[in-house]
């Protein structure tokens, strides 16, 4: 699969701070690549370096071998929806898109088409200052799509979207990939992305932690699983479990977790000992767990955390990402 985006040894220093350090990854055509990392890990800085907004202090970031600034009418090749991009509050949605279309020789008919595509046709003549966060996100996407680019860069596009909006966004992103376009989408929440992405690039503290496929990550998640059992006969179950070579631990008054067990083994085992069960749950590690495990060791906000993320045990994350702002959709 040819690479649409190549990042090679990319680095950015702000004074003594290395915001991005020796970052190398690729984004393939026809695939959705999740660009994941905790808040402040350098995702936005990396994307802004790719797009020529932030100067690069080391390495290269190119689209098919060319820097963003060297592209002819770049918005017709690379569509970007960045966080914290603002609109002029008194400009109407369609006028905003027209300014972009005029400057890039994009037919003005695209303005109505993209507004329709993101579901903003009804508010095309409304001033953007009156838009909700979710509507701004959609207008941001419309701006990115205007030039029918073959590469899309989306920075936290799910922020501010309501659940229906997020569902729509997933479908939209998958559709773009099915057209053969390359999509690079950043998020600090893997769970938000796991139904959408094919590949993952995980960074923490400006450094690459892992580039792999989602399938590979899911395999990693499969390790270290167990079975959660809820039973009114927890003492008798503990007794019989001690007769077999499995590890287990009690997690609540009526609940225990058995390491590495499968339902195929435990079901007959419980029946054989005639133990009443209320709940039998196959507990797989989630992708989010793997993500947290990989990024936690690098977490600056958690200096007491494990030194190496790779070997860190599962544990409660020290910092939960804040919940998204009040869900808002187009009124």
């Amino acid at each position: 699969m040819p690479s649409a985006i190549e990042v090679n040894g990319l680095g950015k220093r702000f004074g003594a701070v290395r915001a991005v350090d020796d970052l190398t990854f690729e984004v393939a055509e026809g695939r959705v690549t999740g660009f994941l990392g905790p808040n402040g890990s350098g995702k936005t800085t990396t994307l802004r370096m790719l797009l020529g907004l932030v100067s690069i202090t080391a390495g290269t970031a190119t689209f098919g071998g060319r820097r963003y600034v060297d592209l002819d009418h770049p918005v017709r090749h690379v569509g970007a929806a960045l966080e914290a991009t603002s609109f002029h509050p008194s400009r109407r949605a369609e006028d905003h898109l027209k300014t972009v279309a005029l400057a890039s020789d994009i037919p003005l008919t695209r303005v109505g088409e993209t507004l329709e595509l993101v579901g903003l046709s009804d508010v095309a003549r409304r001033r953007v200052g009156k838009f909700s966060l979710g509507m701004r996100q959609r207008l941001q996407l419309a701006t990115a799509l205007l030039g029918e680019p073959e590469i899309l860069i989306l920075d936290e596009p799910a922020n501010g979207l309501d659940p229906q909006g997020i569902q729509w966004l997933r479908t939209f992103i998958r559709h773009q990939a099915s057209l053969g376009h390359a999509v690079l989408v950043s998020s600090h929440l893997l769970s938000e992305m796991e139904e959408t992405v094919d590949d993952v690039v995980i960074i923490s503290q400006g450094r690459l932690v892992l580039q792999t496929t989602l399938a590979d990550m899911a395999t990693q998640a499969g390790t270290g699983t167990g079975m959660r059992i809820r039973t009114p006969e927890i003492h008798r179950l503990a007794e019989v479990l001690n007769t077999v070579p499995v590890g287990w631990r009690q997690t609540a008054a009526d609940t225990l977790v058995i390491d590495g067990a499968t339902p195929e083994w435990f079901g007959p085992f419980a029946a054989q000992h005639q133990i009443v069960l209320y709940e039998l749950v196959n507990e797989r590690g989630s992708l989010e767990d793997v993500f947290l495990r990989l990024t936690q060791g690098f977490d600056a906000a958690n200096p007491m955390g494990p030194a190496s993320g790779q070997s860190a045990p599962f544990q409660t994350p020290p910092l939960q990402p804040p919940p998204p702002p009040h869900p808002e959709g187009p009124a």
């Binding site: 800085t45 907004l53 770049p74 970007a80 914290a84 991009t85 002029h88 109407r92 905003h96 701006t143």
Partner: protein, 258 residues
């Protein structure tokens, strides 16, 4: 570049900036025009219509100099600083990633809008002056005939001041700071300077603008504040405006847009 300028024109048209500035300019300039015409009295207090081209030019000039230049200057400044104030610069630089091209499009756009502002004020002068002249027995057609002699210099000066505004704004991208500096210089700094060093006037934007506009040619005999001739003034203003714009582009090239 045509595409970029069309986009810039739409951008500025869809903000309040040009409309508010034009409205204030008309509201402030119209009375100035009227009073300068009405003030033309002879010793007995009777109205004297302007007789010569030079008289009319001075009359029109007295209304447009100073404040008029300042509006063109502010227009240029706001065209670029509004992008930073509302953070629309991110989208603009995604569309036009080369910082020099971004500033050049603003320069051309501000030149067009500066010319438009000059034309608007000329219309105000025609209407205001025309009404006064007709009411006082002067010749309206005489006024109209002066337009070709007056308009080119006036338009040129407004264009030059608008370009200077973009240059200033490209260096001082903070809108509030830019407006304070522009107003502070125009209202205080420049007058202080020329009171101290009279010969510095010809080097100030207003002095160079006066030379370019030709609007005060009648006053040029004044030995206290000598000015350049029109093309020297034009070149000096261009040097200021484009020089600032180049410096601004250079700063912008090394600036991270976050």
């Amino acid at each position: 570049m045509t595409a970029a300028v069309r986009s810039e024109l739409l951008k500025i048209r869809t903000t309040a900036v040009p409309w508010v500035l034009a409205a204030i300019a008309v509201l402030l300039e119209a009375p100035v025009i009227l009073t300068s015409f009405l003030d033309r009295r002879n010793i007995d207090g009777g109205f004297v219509p302007p007789q010569t081209t030079q008289e009319l030019r001075n009359l029109l000039g007295s209304g447009f100099r100073g404040q008029g230049y300042l509006f063109a200057l502010l227009l240029g400044t706001l065209i670029i600083t509004t992008e930073f104030r509302h953070k629309t610069v991110t989208t603009s630089l995604l569309v036009t990633p080369r910082r020099l091209a971004f500033v050049v499009a603003k320069v051309i756009t501000s030149a067009i809008l500066g010319a438009a502002l000059a034309l608007l004020l000329l219309v105000v002068a025609l209407v205001g002056g025309g009404i006064t002249l007709s009411a006082r027995g002067g010749s309206f057609s005489g006024l109209v005939h002066q337009i070709p002699a007056v308009a080119p210099g006036m338009i040129l000066a407004f264009v030059l001041f608008a370009i200077l505004g973009v240059g200033t704004g490209s260096i001082l991208t903070n809108q509030v700071a830019a407006i304070i500096v522009v107003l502070g210089w125009s209202v205080l700094g420049e007058s202080l300077l020329i009171q101290l060093v009279h010969s510095a006037y010809r080097w100030t934007p207003t002095g160079a603008g006066d030379a370019a506009s030709n609007l005060t040619r009648g006053d040029r005999g004044s030995d206290i504040f000598p000015i350049f001739n029109w093309w020297q003034g034009t070149l000096l203003m261009l040097a200021y405006g484009l020089g600032f714009a180049l410096v601004g582009s250079f700063f912008l090239r090394h600036r991270d847009i976050t």
